[in-house]
Amino acid sequence: MRIPCPFCGSRDAHEFSYLGDATPRRPDPAAPGAEAAFFDYVYLRDNPAGAFEEWWYHAAGCRQWLKVARDTRTHAITGAVLARDVAAPAAPTPAGGETAR
């Protein structure tokens, strides 16, 4: 299996390590029902047969997290984007300073 890293190009899957499902979103800890929502977020995963979006880390290359679209039945990969390009926007930059990381 080869993964099309947006920075490095097509690379063998052995250069990457796998995290899993890219769809869960961290719940609001202040919202009502947060405990149940966090249980779902931390522990419960779908196991789809077909199109899937998942996180891969390009450990032996650019060391970036990628969001990869893969068909779990065929391993056909239809795309990959840098996580930094699809992640939630960073907090506003304080006047005259860099964003805290």
């Binding site: 920075f7 490095c8 190009g9 690379r11 063998d12 052995h14 250069e15 032996a60 290359g61 650019c62 060391r63 970036q64 840098l82 930094r84 960073a90 930059t93 860099e98 964003t99 990381r101």
Partner: protein
């Protein structure tokens, strides 16, 4: 066989192969040379600071930071794209490279001169030998002068840069992997013959001698 590293030594695999001719007798297919005269630093643009860093590098060195896995060079300084907004900067005759880069104020700088072991590789069979070691297509149709790849070679993290058309390459591995990598290189190059011009880093090697 005097030209081979001695397998009799209990730690022979932890030491770099010695300088000289190895493998098939005759004209070497691969000519390698350790470079210990280079200053090396990683440079990362801070969040939102990429344009300012690019302008500072242009002003200081006349160097345009590459956007992808490419090398750009000017005035004896080269920048290799390793990742988005991150570069490996190499320079000769500039021992204070990391301090110079930090002085630009536009990025995060890490001194790496002792972190990497650097090999310059040439010879008529060098592409064939590297093709055994790296799972990236090195055919000139898709990988040519100025192209850079960060990958692993025989499970050793490495940066490979094609520096010339002949072709010639510069290869960087972590210093602690230099000895192991030298044996991997010999295993791959022995069928063509390998000339190593300098014994390079290792327990017996002199440091800071400005060789190269």
């Amino acid at each position: 066989m005097a030209e081979m590293s001695s397998p009799a030594h209990p730690l022979s695999h932890t030491r770099p192969i010695p300088a000289g001719h190895h493998g098939r007798p005759g004209t070497a297919g691969v000519v390698a040379r350790w470079r210990e005269d280079l200053a090396i630093a990683t440079l990362a643009a801070r969040h939102g600071g990429e344009a300012a860093l690019a302008a500072a590098m242009d002003a200081a060195f006349g160097l345009a930071l590459p956007a992808g896995p490419k090398a750009a060079g000017a005035n004896g300084v080269s920048a290799l794209g390793l990742a988005p907004r991150r570069w490996l900067v190499l320079a000769s005759q500039r021992p204070a490279l990391a301090a110079e880069l930090a002085g630009l104020g536009g990025g995060a700088v890490t001194e790496q001169s002792d972190g990497y072991a650097v090999l310059d590789l040439a010879g008529p069979e060098v592409r064939a030998v590297l093709a055994k070691l790296v799972a990236v297509d090195l055919d000139p149709a898709v990988f040519s002068t100025g192209d850079v790849v960060a990958s692993s070679l025989a499970h050793i993290g490495a940066v490979l840069w094609q520096t010339g058309e002949e072709p010639t390459y510069r290869l960087l591995v972590g210093t602690s992997f230099a000895a192991a990598f030298s044996h991997t290189l010999l295993a791959a190059a022995a069928e063509y013959g390998l000339d190593l011009a300098d014994a390079g880093r290792g327990p017996e090697a002199g440091r800071g001698t400005g060789r190269g």
